[in-house]
Amino acid sequence: MPLTINRRIALILFVIAAIYLFLSFQLPNYPYAPVDADVIPKGLGILMIILSVALFFSKAIETEAEKEKRNIPKKELLVLLAVFAMIFLYILLFEIIGFVIMTAIFIFFCSWFLGYTKWKSNIIVSILFPLGMYVIFVFALGISLPKGILPI
């Protein structure tokens, strides 16, 4: 029996479901409820185990379109990881440095990294977008965004 992609996913799901089920058996009891907090999780865990077994033994063959979707070049995957890393850095720093500066930096470098070469319009958008959003959120909607090191 070859280990197709669906079978591998089924195995992962089975492990997740087993951990989930194990954790739901650890939930404390509350004596007066007819249906306690652990009933639904236990049911879900069992259902997921059944479904992952069903997926493992399912005879459905991957269609060409599905294979095509899965076929992502390594280089593109690295680009995607880099974008995620940039978002991560943004989240890490934006309460410290502030919304306006971090957003401007993010938009400029992310667009540039993804191949936007018109740097003049890139700079204009990178500055106007965060300023506009800041004004709308802070002054019009009353939602405070971290101002960070900027004195505004």
Binding site: F84, I91, S111, L145
Partner: protein
């Protein structure tokens, strides 16, 4: 309140200056976001939710409804001009719309799409006005067992109808409910799967899931397809003129498919995508010259366009009258209601008539706006398709991050947004449908509550779900909606094997 008085209340909301302004903002933003290939109504609604904080619920929800049907309307533009549907509900639009554009008749195709959408939208709003109050008054008597069964039916229907494998759709749905169980159990106060992390006590906000699973996952797909064409400046639109003969040709499909679309929109699980495909196939079947379809047929363009818009308004019937979403998009719409402190359902019509009727009335206004906006402004609106992809990607990421941050001001939620974004991307890559996940996430908490209420009523006896006819029949429908498609697939495979 009868439908007539109701509509007067509704038009008072929709035609106030605030109502008109927010309907207009909603349909414009919806159209623009819907046009962008890859970005659909779910992302459009989710991105707009933070803007509504602090607004009155009535104008805010009128605007969100505008975003929803505006996005479906806008999706057709990129289908026709780029052969890259903005949303899945307009895939069928590209079958005949894009060939027309290639023949230099893009303007005409856009005009036909706009007219057909307007027609479908208007017909179905009238039907929504008639059907939703009737359903509300019936639903008022539903007890928890009937509600539980209804939600179960909605969930199984969308799982069995999503594209691809039913097992994968069911896995997505179960995973969605699993995510809901994280946090403090509202009934007993037990902590479930929080690992003592304070950030998880309240569970996940639905906006994190909606923006992660849809907007961030769509961003990932956009990153991979960033080199795809966007609209070039010299693309000719051609004349927008629709002749009397064209109108005559499209009148048949428009009328028929508006009703088909509406009915499919009301049913749980179906929605705009399935409605547009069924309408396209339907028209092709009954056409005298089916060979024209796919080569720029006016009928083939008008049919899915009236159908997908009719389905959009149809989807509001179960949402407004039962409080139960029938699709991924209406699940996010329900989220928008809840964020604003409005619980849709049978009591909405009596408790908040201005919202119930305001939304319905605003759809008349919104559809007219869309028609006026789209016909003369199409050439200008289509310019948005020339936004460079890299810039679009950065901006969508920013909108999502701001949206999540402004609900909780908690950086932890932003990391979770990233996690659900990665999950949404993985689901796309491995062909797991995301709508059952978001629907299960929205319905999961309500289902658990209805289940436990039913069990409390019956003292723990499961027979409560089969003892009265309504829950029983709904559970049977739920069961058969899962089993029948599987059986059909199994039978067709056996037939193939025996051949």
């Amino acid at each position: 309140m009868n439908a007539f008085d109701g509509m007067i209340t509704g038009f008072q909301v929709a035609l106030s200056w605030e109502g008109i302004l927010f309907v207009l903002i909603g349909v414009i933003v919806g159209t623009l976001i819907g046009m962008m290939p890859g970005l659909g109504p779910i992302s459009a609604i989710a991105i707009m939710i933070p803007i509504t904080y602090g607004m009155d619920p009535a104008p805010a929800l009128v605007m969100m409804a505008g975003v929803y049907y505006g996005a479906v309307f806008g999706g057709s533009t990129s289908s026709i001009l780029l052969n890259a549907p903005g949303i899945s509900g307009t895939v069928a639009t590209a079958f005949d719309g894009y060939p027309m554009a290639q023949q230099g008749k893009a303007g005409k195709a856009l005009a036909i799409a706009a007219i057909a959408s307007f027609f479908g939208g208007t017909v179905s709003v009238i039907m929504l006005m008639l059907l939703a109050p009737a359903l509300s008054s019936v639903a008022i008597s539903f007890g928890p067992p009937a509600y539980f069964a209804l939600m179960l039916m909605g969930l199984t229907a969308i799982s069995s109808l999503s594209e691809g494998s039913t097992i994968k759709a069911m896995i997505a749905a179960v995973a969605g409910v699993m995510v809901v169980t994280i946090g403090i159990d509202p009934q007993t106060g037990t902590q479930r799967f929080t690992f003592g992390n304070v950030n998880l006590f309240d569970g996940f906000d639905f906006l994190i899931i909606a923006l992660g699973l849809f907007a961030i996952a769509e961003v990932c797909m956009l990153v991979l397809n960033r080199k795809n064409r966007s609209l070039s400046d010299d693309q000719k639109l051609g004349s927008l003129k629709v002749t009397r003969a064209d109108l005559k040709e499209m009148s048949g499909p428009m009328t028929r498919q508006s009703f088909v679309g509406f009915i499919l929109g009301v049913l749980p699980g179906a929605g705009a995508t399935i409605a547009s495909f069924i309408s396209y196939i339907f028209e092709k079947r009954i056409s005298k010259n089916p060979e024209e379809f796919g080569k720029g047929s006016i009928k083939g363009l008008a049919a899915p366009e009236s159908s997908n818009n009719a389905a959009t308004s149809g989807a509001f019937v179960p949402l407004l009258s039962l409080g139960i979403p029938g699709s991924g998009t209406t699940a996010v719409m329900l989220g928008a209601f809840l964020v604003l402190g409005v619980q849709p359902g049978p009591l909405l019509m009596t408790d908040r008539p201005e919202i119930f009727w305001g939304i319905i009335a605003s759809m008349y206004v919104g559809n007219i706006f869309l028609l006026i906006l789209n016909l003369p402004l199409i050439p200008y609106l289509a310019k948005i398709l020339s936004i460079p992809r890299p810039l679009l990607i950065s901006l969508v990421i920013m909108f999502s991050l701001i949206g999540v941050y402004s609900i909780s001001f908690n950086v932890f939620d932003l990391y979770m947004l990233l996690v659900f974004g990665a999950l949404g991307f993985a689901m796309r890559v491995f062909s797991f449908p995301a709508p059952p996940f978001i629907l299960a996430f929205i319905l999961g908490g309500m289902m658990e509550q209805a289940f436990r209420q039913s069990m409390t009523i019956s003292n723990g006896n499961l027979a409560i779900f089969v003892n009265s006819p309504l829950p029983l029949s709904l559970i049977l429908i739920a069961f058969f909606s899962l089993v029948i498609p599987g059986l059909l697939k199994w039978r067709s495979r056996r037939k193939l094997a025996n051949m």
